[in-house]
Symmetry: C3
């Protein structure tokens, strides 16, 4: 199977969840040795990013800076009150790719893949596809 999805259940309003293991599992399920993994967030107040996974303080700093640079007091029109979360989603992006070699994700030494929750807690999902080549 070369395409499917997995669940990410977040537990805070803003949270980075390390999904590297699920991403590698997706590659294993696909049976593809060489190709590209595509991850996609089907949500409008969440994103996907790759950053340092060794020190959890980095994730906290990133969330803190997002809250600092996106104003909470701007005269937002959107009545749901979560426009800052939508902005963070656009700044982060809904998709990412990782190159696969020998059945393994070609991440750098310190890199981990994160699901970025900006309007949780919620039950989220990540869709994926692997293309061989």
């Amino acid at each position: 199977m070369h395409a499917s999805k997995f669940s990410v259940n977040t537990t805070a309003h803003m949270q980075f969840v390390d999904i590297t293991a699920q991403a590698q599992q997706a590659v294993s399920e696909s049976g593809v040795n060489d190709g590209v993994l595509y991850l996609f967030s089907p949500h409008t107040t969440a994103g996907l990013t790759i950053n340092e996974g060794c020190d959890p303080d980095v994730q906290q700093d990133l969330l803190g800076v997002f809250q600092t640079i996106i104003p909470s007091s701007y005269p937002y029109r959107h009545a749901e009150g979560n426009s800052p979360s939508h902005m963070m989603a656009t700044l982060t992006g809904s998709s990412l790719i990782v190159i696969i070699t020998g059945g393994k994700l070609q991440l750098g030494t310190w890199q981990r893949i994160f699901f970025c929750e900006y309007d949780g807690p919620r039950n989220r999902k990540v869709t994926w596809k692997v293309i061989a080549g």
Copy 2:
């Protein structure tokens, strides 16, 4: 045909234009049932993003926040005066991907694909490619 382009004519200095229908049309033209759609903006003061399309206030809020966080009074060197537009382009990104299953773009319930004009109005284009897999 698995690659082509379509036009987006913007009507304001900053504007999000919903291009989901053109993107789905590209997939239909390709004849590909399962694969990945790549969209690419060949411009340096525009971008592509996926966000909520139901309430147009979200798009207005995103444009408002971009204008709030990118300073207009910074001592920019670039003589054309559109450095904030270039910055927004880099923050948004020039390309995006959407997974295709059964000939349909696999977008979330509230997701729409937007061309992001940051230095209009202009006649723009979006190039696309579909790879089966």
Copy 3:
């Protein structure tokens, strides 16, 4: 060969390095006429973007705005002191794609591909893959 990497040695703390020639060389090495090029930065304090390459002032303006909007005085937890660099990496993104037609990258007239150094100078690398289709 459809996948490999190349080096980028940066010479400043923050710097955009034009890697368009290396990217085109990667396409030539792959021998692929029609497909997609994937570029990936395996680093957590660097990114990849596409923007104007004609006037180097644009690159300087982008770096200046990054330093303006990401606070340096925020109470960062990460002890290495480079949390702003990590934030810039997430805002820029670790990967990008370019469509290939007739063996050539389909970039816009003013577009160039940049490696974005946010915590240099360092010896960096960019990994790439080409998929035909």
